[in-house]
Subunit: 337 residues, 2 copies
Amino acid sequence: MQRVRIKDVAREAGVALSTAALALRNDNQLREETRRAVRDAAARLGYVYDRSAAMMRSGRSHTVGLLVCEITNPFYAELTAGVEAALEEAGFATMLANTGESVTRQRRMLERFREQPVDGVLMMPASGTPPTLLDDLERWGLPHATVVRGFRRGAHTGPDNRGGTRLATEHLLGLGHRRIAFLGGAAKNSVTAGRWEGYARSMARAGLEPVQLACRTDIGEAAALAQDLPHDGPTALVCFNDSVAFGAMLGLSRAGRVPGRDIAVTGFDDIREAALWHPRLTTISTSPRQMGQAAARVLLARIADPDAPPPRETIRAQLVVRESCGAKLNGGGCSSG
Amino acid sequence: MQRVRIKDVAREAGVALSTAALALRNDNQLREETRRAVRDAAARLGYVYDRSAAMMRSGRSHTVGLLVCEITNPFYAELTAGVEAALEEAGFATMLANTGESVTRQRRMLERFREQPVDGVLMMPASGTPPTLLDDLERWGLPHATVVRGFRRGAHTGPDNRGGTRLATEHLLGLGHRRIAFLGGAAKNSVTAGRWEGYARSMARAGLEPVQLACRTDIGEAAALAQDLPHDGPTALVCFNDSVAFGAMLGLSRAGRVPGRDIAVTGFDDIREAALWHPRLTTISTSPRQMGQAAARVLLARIADPDAPPPRETIRAQLVVRESCGAKLNGGGCSSG
DNA sequence: CTGAAAGCGCTTACAG
DNA sequence: CTGAAAGCGCTTACAG
């Protein structure tokens, strides 16, 4: 069985090849009647559109490269789901690459995307990515956007990191805490910087000394740190994200301390497990799925109009008060969420 | 700046176009010296290989479509990471599609993959996918393989579901439990069937009545079910997977019962959180990342040799004894892991 | 709408 | 290794 081409569809429908091509792309300079006749003919013959040929001729692949720093992190998985859904809806396919936080792998994958070729790249840069990467992308003429993690320039969509930890810290201050430590954020990137700043500035405004208990985003590492916390140490922990907060709560439990009663804990991200953990986690919601969708739309806008100024979007952070901060257990000084 | 093509590289290197083309693909019928000269010329000119053109001419895209049932499920995220890594290593790119358990979306995405075109499809079929889908894929001439969830035929890589729940059930029987219930598995698919069978047969062999507490794979739903469990109900729960087990433990805690002491709980999958939960979860390990890698290799073999009989691989299940089964707390009848 | 044609950048087969 | 050439299946511009 020969492969069916547009030429065959045109013959079957009794129209010219160029007419069939236009009809198959649903071009509206054709009469509805003609378009339907062509589509019917295509269906009868079992025609399958060949995007690789279209790509080659038109130079547009309707494919986007998605560079994920770590897909097994639930937050990034949710974000990826949002990106994929928004791209799919816009008729774009998603080429996935998981860098696993390796700058080397990331580089190789970008070069692969360039060869592919993709119409644009959406990335969550691996920790330690030099900002000059943007220069390369620009030199290559590859439209790009960052999400969550970004640089000082370039199209970007990210959470309000500073505002988020500010909300968390002020909430804990309002509950009467004074010895509040920041747990996590050992990696050097824009997210870490923003979350630390939001915390540290709030502490400074309250005349208190900010303290960082640095660890990587790893439940086990956070647990180990929290387990060894002295009893005259912090009474509250502003955690870098929910995974760190879960680790902290596990470590505290192992040390015989009850999170939310003996010590307050807040997270960041509001991943699904946050509402289900025991105690339920007080955290900062940043809606990763919606952020992914927003980032996809930003990139598509870049692709459609590369000369427009690159948009920078901030997703609002919201405090979600549950149990781990102790507000609902102690009836502390906090009036509401 | 004009785009650099193979023709330009050939001129720069002082060889024929066909020689340059062969050299760039590192064909070993050429002398090493010639290959290097061509690669150097390509580097000097900033040549970028255009896969879309190669794809069109050769009919091979070196791209695989990956259909994930739910990427936000940590188990499938880990699996996806394994698939992507193995494909990348083999020089294949991954087109990602997240069906979110929708058979309709799945269908649309497969048709998209067909147009793309991809060299093959690796899928975790959405719940409720009719086995006739395989007929369509074969009619389309699209090499395919399933992973985790599959059908009675076709290339497949999956965990030993039956063996896994058998291990868990026999472990609990060995600890002296008699009222053991199976929690979860409301969805109809091959995984559910296998896990239920492993449990039910072990119960039957022990002369006991199998009982299913059906719920979807959802922490909240499992928690609700476990919270309402009567005190004269089951003393042990064989859970469909780790997420269900986490839900069960949360529900039990809310009802004031201590998992691992008042009631035994086992999971399935051994996702990362399993070792870190409180209590640590006794579960069945199936190494999702390795399973993903194995599945990718199976598909690549199908693509390379479509006429060979489709391989079916089973990944061995292993019991990982931790705390939630009570074995290590009670010093029960279990001798080891 | 038609019809003939060029061209995207490769791969591939072939005679030398 | 060379060199000339065909062809993958589209898109696109154009004269009618």
